[in-house]
Symmetry: D2
Subunit: 297 residues, 4 copies
């Protein structure tokens, strides 16, 4: 069983297992923009959803090649692209309020994408009243790190729901680490989707769903693949080596709590969390990259 | 106007302003134990409460002199004393659950006592199910850093209440930074009280009350003085210099957002937060200092 | 005795104590640029140096008003101005190597400017060989946090000297926290000077001099005032209140280890350290603000 | 090629490849003590050194089983055992000075053992003069994080040497992350050896040797395995699955910059770094676990 949270890889698996590029009821479109590749997948029918294992909705995958090569000006371009796509997916009326939820555990590097992204998200809601001359014209944005709340023993989804009921935001952005099938994708692509965060996402911990269905307002799921799990690795390794299929159970100690990551995972997640945070700020406010640096770093 | 959150200083002010040691309806008792001085104040009547500006209840002030001199074995002794007194103030039945709320903003050093204390508090609630063989026998403890929640724009007290309604703990410990009148007390005493956290506590930010009256369960307020505000300093300075009384307004820029702290405030708060965290763990579970070090550091 | 590390305040004290604007042998020039005020002071004679208590050399003080008001685009403008002035003060030949030394103790907030600035400084020296395709064209820059080295028990200046002897950089930038006379200047101005770091700078700890005289290469001192010491405060307070001069000794406990800082000192130093770090990167390399964000955050 | 830094695994590989338990010139001894297993290996001849791939000297491996099970009192016991063994390996005269070097990069979790251990090491050298009443009787200990120094572009070993030449310590303790062959050993054993740190240790980065030969004083290497490299994993996986031997080259992308770690690597390294730091403090000074907590946390 190969596990992936990426629409891109779900499509790839479909292509490997069938002769066709896409199931009926699914459409895809790819374009290059300012050093990044953007692939949009629209799942429009229940049949396509079942075939791909991805709910009905839009999935946008951005691979910021120029940024990954550390090219000049690439961060501004990638953050701006991310901001524009997120803004377009959210379709927020002026002044609409947003709750940004960072899921995951800061103490486990590959699970820390959500809380690390929040470090760069400008939470304006409490500033509007205390510093109106500076923040009066900003959209009200709240930030919630559920990992810290996780110490209360409440489920992340339950907590987002409880806080959303009090704050009544017009939309929710839920940021979480994703699992990929291929190591080559880890910390190299950003996925955003209007289907929210699906159950079983992240580094393998069951979390309840966060979606329009459970929260009553639009929920955009935003994430980056940060791990490949050991079973998926094992299956891939044997295939690549031209061996017969073997099960994860054969691998004993590797089956359970192990994960495979790039050696420089901390630095890569740091960069991706910064990109996501800046993208969110640029989507929600009219700011430059330098403004975000001055306001939240 | 001299501002203090310390029962010890409220009593001191009473003594300075009247001829008597204490108002009727208040009792005090001092003892030395293992290198610390402990002063207990009981306020038993409304008249005494009004006279002292401190609600009806018990106030325990611990000054860990041996620890402040970095004497051998002093940390174990002070943490154990704190643990015993806190346990006795809480009077918890076996297995009773506790919510520990850390108030304050981690990014402002003198306001960071609450969240820093939480770093050393063992939150067991979510561990009982995931690691029953290790944590099955522990009391369920939840930890909540309201400062991070503060990014949501909800009041700290409102959030503690919302979470307490969901979790229904049998008692709450609220940790917060306090304001002192004398610089000599900053980061040198611990105060705990069964009256909870009074409005206006902390570094001058109005926070709503956390008490048995507002939460419906026993609430112990636990804190350490971390600042003297500029107005109090100004008044004290002029008195010490034998000058006439002058008002804070005379001091222009010093009146507002300034605070006076010891030069080594970060290190001192680090030590006090560790002491409080260990004290809480020792009060709530049967652990040694080394066990706490291994479990939460 | 009023203590200041700021050329701006040295000039101010001269003006208060004499009838003249400047001593002979000193010149000043002020201009506004992109939301910042820049004051340049040139001390050209030994007499002027003695009169002002500042060595012969250039002093540039930048007050980034627009940034302090959090205006749009202000960070880019202030970082660019800082970068240009620093570049002009350094006069580096192409490819010349630089050692950036961050002085001070990260654990003491007002003394943490140096190490915090280093977090945003791109140290390229070790990257040129490991990632030549990305960093091959960069100037070799080394970063040294002496505070951590301080744990070795060697003096900061001695350590910078030892490392400089091994690395043989073409220039040194020494970043340190400064002491101001007026609270209103704390975390609001940046000073850079080609005289290096003078003895006794910073939060009152004697550190040996870092200058062309002691290191053999040009040394630029770069700093921000982060504290007013208690004695200076006391003297100022009494003056403002129209009282007679009193000495710091009158203030007992306030005289020694106390310091006065703005309530939000952590956030302010965070912003100033970011500004300094970005300014250094822009001075030493051809980068945009977004490039710096992607590379070092 | 299976890579390991562990003497325990070198012996294991010898046993797997030959019929004998140990080569001539090597001796081993195992005992249990206070919840830990201790295995001592003495390599006494050049032939044994070559056969095992481990230099002539003593290797002590401690597996703190009780601590890994989070048993009560296990941290005190394990830290005390580590302290006693380290003290015995160092054989320091009274008052002898020590330099503790933490190798590795704090930004890469599995390489962060060295710098994280330093957080818990009491650096007394600079305190003896500033706080003689508290630290006057302590042994002078200096701490050096070479990772930060790594930003200067000097080799870690070169820097330790440069600092050692200035400070002239009587002994050096070098702490570094190690590579293991088996995932089951990652973050579960501590190795100390009087042979210092061998070249090629750590997470695969070539570092020059730190030993009595290069530093002129006794050097104890202290480490914990934190990774298995991808090639070793691949070889092990295929063996376990009963497959023929295949080379790492077969695994394409997995060969290079990937590593395999337990999911909870951050927390496990945090605990191991704390254990090592406390062990060093207990070896070098007469302190209790609580004293160390109060002094360095």
């Amino acid at each position: 069983m190969k596990r992936t949270d990426l629409a891109l890889e779900a499509r790839e698996l479909w292509r490997e297992n069938t002769a066709s590029a896409l199931p009926p009821g699914a459409e895809t479109e790819t374009r290059e923009e300012g050093g990044s590749t953007l692939e949009a997948l629209a799942v429009t029918s229940g049949e396509a959803a079942e075939a791909l294992g991805k709910g009905v909705g839009k999935y946008i995958t951005i691979t910021p090649e120029a940024l990954l090569r550390r090219e000049e000006g690439a961060f501004e371009a990638a953050a701006a692209l991310l901001g524009r796509e997120l803004r377009s997916l959210l379709e927020l009326p002026e002044g609409a309020s947003v709750l940004v939820a960072g899921l995951g555990n800061e103490a486990i590097t590959p699970d820390s994408l959500g809380p690390r992204t929040l470090r760069h998200v400008l939470a304006t809601r409490h500033l509007v009243s205390s510093l109106p001359e500076t923040f009066g014209a900003f959209r009200p944005v709240s930030a919630l790190a559920t990992g810290v709340l996780g110490n209360t023993g409440m489920e992340s989804a339950e907590l987002v729901k409880a806080v959303a009921e009090k704050l009544r935001p017009d939309a929710v952005i839920a940021v979480d680490a994703l699992a990929a099938r291929r190591l080559g994708r880890v910390c190299r692509t950003v996925q955003m989707t209007d289907t929210g965060i699906a159950p079983g996402s992240g580094v393998g911990n069951a979390r309840k769903e966060l979606s329009r269905g459970t929260l009553g307002v639009p929920v955009v799921g935003l994430g980056v693949p940060t791990v490949v799990d050991a079973a998926t690795l094992a299956a891939d390794l044997t295939e690549q080596a031209g061996l017969e299929e073997i099960s994860a159970a054969d691998f004993g100690e590797y089956g359970g709590g192990m994960m495979v990551t790039p050696r420089e995972i901390d630095q890569q997640i740091t960069l991706m969390a910064r990109l996501l945070g800046y993208g969110i700020d640029l989507a929600l406010h009219d700011l430059s990259v330098g403004d975000v640096t001055a306001l939240v770093g």
